[in-house]
Amino acid sequence: MKKTSNINYEEFLNIGFIQTNLNEKLAWFNSATGNWSIPMSTAAQSKMIQEIQQGFCDVVNYSNKPQFIILPELTLPIPNEKTLEMLCLASKSIVIAGFDFVQGKKGIQNKAVIMVPNQWPLQIRSRHVSKYYIGKTHFSIPEKDLFKAIGQSEEPDQAMYLFHANVYGTVGIAICSDFFDLERFVIYRGKIQHLLVISHNQDTESYYFLAEAISRIVFCNVIICNTGFYGDSIAFSPYSDSYKRYVYRHKGQDLFATQVVKLPVRG
């Protein structure tokens, strides 16, 4: 590969976290019948959209405007996609959010959407939003159990993505248990500046160790946005000064939280 970078990278990239709080029993378990089902219940849907709106209000009021706003996996109810588009236009930043489980042709998909307002990265009013859908490759065991309880199977998406964000560097995205996909890091190595992971993950401590390891192996910033129900959203950057490396870590369970963090882009 030719390495003649003629891009003047920005010094920092601002990322806004909206750590929404979703209880999986509220979302996919029907206590009256004792069955699991998709999509998420209406109670969970209205809770989610309320928290998303609250989160956007918080994030855009920070003094440093975020270029990216990330939401956890399994956050956005499918009927509320349009609401998120309007919020994306209003916030003038790229939004990455995980969809609720989607019924595909062959099984259940786990998708995320990337919404780009048409004037990004300028802070001027955009008129429309472009969307790009990505899918999950490796499903976790609890998910497979859930699909088995519903009587369906999973539909993985084999592709991996590399998002060129021009002056803000290159971004790789993984959905939850794709973070354990070794091939992904082989191919990402030396190509990306930021790795965004959106997750709905119970085992937060192992993700924390992995974030540090991957950050050194791939040499990139690792940003994990986990659901507030389990907590522990992380931003880790491979600075040479050890005290600078933990940019952000939000511990504690059953919490709704927002934050804007500043991550280095240039060398």
């Binding site: 030719k2 790229i94 004037q119 084999q158 993505y161 998002f163 060129h164 964000a165 091939e183």
Partner: protein, 148 residues
Amino acid sequence: MIESTILGIGALLACLLSRDFGLPAYWNTDGHQRAWLNLIYTKLKTSHISSLTKQLLDSIFSKRNKETDLLNLFFPEKEYEFFEDTLIDPPKIITLKNLSDFIVASQKVLKSYRLNIQDNLPRQLIPVSLKQLTQQYQPYKDEEDQQH
């Protein structure tokens, strides 16, 4: 003639990418094919497309490019100059050679991002430019490093 051939190849490419050979029904209306060109994006909504392939589709199905051509047709005498607003438009595809050049360039990038590791199964990395998802139809115009 050559224009409709390019359009046909573009439609075929879109079908292959979305793995579905149903084309928009609106295209069947005589004389309205051009008006509904951007319906192809609805078809490709959930497909995984790299930026160079999208650039190719953008230029085949671009209404702006068609209008630019028509503008020269309607105002052949250069009595006045037009303001140049085609800088962010998709590149023009005029001949079949142009088209094949674009396809080869797009394939080359995708090939360089493919690898087989476990069980020799292919994994494909798809490069996507966020700039292209905004307004700019030529994603790598001023960034040579990502073109290879």
